[in-house]
Symmetry: C2
Subunit: 235 residues, 2 copies
């Protein structure tokens, strides 16, 4: 019998590589994305292409408006910082942090996983090239898993023990990209930039080109450089 997994899929490098890993491990993929009034919706286009390219059984996009809560440069009127050549220092939580975002995302994933009877929930959390988000740390993920197993009918009745799987947790961005490339994953479908620019030259499958200056672009560039691979989005 095929194993089912719910995968949190933003369309970025980490979640897309995570989905590719789950696929390679033999899981049927149930991809879950969120339209949460993030500033740019391009990542949803990326997520769709990634889910399709990996043959996801289903791709669910849940919509809600996190602007009502606010508190982040990604959902409120706070400027995304651009510091050319500068990546936020480790331990500093950037303005792109969204309050309780992974907790909200994992909660929906848990609900869907319960309905699907899928014991494994994959998340592209990373604690090495760590951008400072508290909800990407291993101790957080372990606490969520413990809570999840007390929260649901299928776990309380002993039918399923949920696992939060974060296969990238201890990998550098370079290692992540190398792993994905080895599995034949096409990174031209992924999107990282917080501040997309019009693609005047029509070179990107997503229809936009990255700014190259935001934290997320700098992490991506660093990753491809470490992996010794050319970013297909910049070709």
């Amino acid at each position: 019998m095929t194993k089912k997994a719910v995968i949190l899929l933003s369309g970025g490098i980490d979640s897309s590589t995570t989905a590719a890993i789950a696929k390679a491990e033999g899981y049927d993929i149930y991809a879950l994305s969120f339209d949460y009034a993030q500033r740019h919706r391009l990542e949803l286009e990326s997520a769709k292409k990634v889910a399709e390219s990996l043959g996801a059984k289903k791709h669910l996009i849940i919509k809600f408006d996190l602007r009502e809560i606010g508190g982040s440069a990604l959902t409120a009127d706070i400027e995304v910082p651009k510091k050319v050549g500068h990546i936020s220092p480790i331990g500093h939580i950037p303005v792109t942090y969204v309050p309780a975002r992974n907790t909200i995302f994992l909660s929906f994933a848990l609900g869907w996983a319960e309905v699907l009877e899928a014991p494994d929930i994959f998340i592209g959390a990373n604690a090495v090239d760590y951008s400072g988000y508290p909800d990407c740390r291993p101790e957080y993920l372990k606490a969520f898993e413990e809570m999840a197993n007390l929260a649901t009918r299928v776990s309380v009745e002993g039918k399923i023990k949920f696992k939060i799987k974060a296969p990238l947790l201890y990998m550098t961005k370079g290692e992540i990209i190398r792993k994905g490339a080895e599995m034949g994953f096409d990174y031209s479908f992924t999107w990282s930039c917080y501040d997309p620019q019009k693609d005047i030259g029509h070179i990107s499958p997503i229809g936009h080109i990255p700014c190259g200056k935001c934290d997320s672009c700098l992490f991506r560039a660093k990753g491809f450089k470490e992996a010794g691979i050319k970013d297909p989005l910049l070709s």
Copy 2:
């Protein structure tokens, strides 16, 4: 300085009494409700009236569609059971259970509480007249609280320690209603029924009358009987 609290407010007896208790304890109330495509939306009308009657600083209604996930009589095409005179046995999880619902609700509450810098999140969970929901048990709430304090910037930076407060946890329905009535809370604003009927006689402030047969109506009736108080919705 006034204390702030986020209160999960469904418009039912438990969450409304919880909000009234928080108010009596001197909190500024930030009420949070969800329009999650539940079968009937009347409880949102109730929640609005309750929030207003308690002078909430803000009442936020977050909208998303749990039908896409399904798995419950409240959000999918499963019939709500009606067994006159019968309440689901303790320990049996009813079909009205919604997968991961309280986890999803508390996650949004956590995000809002972080933005507001409100350390206390109130939920009307109850483990005595327990309808069988795993995510109403004290061990679940404690696990959520532990996870919450690892999840957010304000907690990780030591500014706030979140508490999940469930003041009704060990009270019977009768005790809850008596407590609310003693505080002068008006239960005619609350709504419990899963299967509202047209109010031909125009006696209800909500515009509908309860079916009197679903689990939730039976719990409510039992509570008012125990409290020795007449349900204003049935007068």
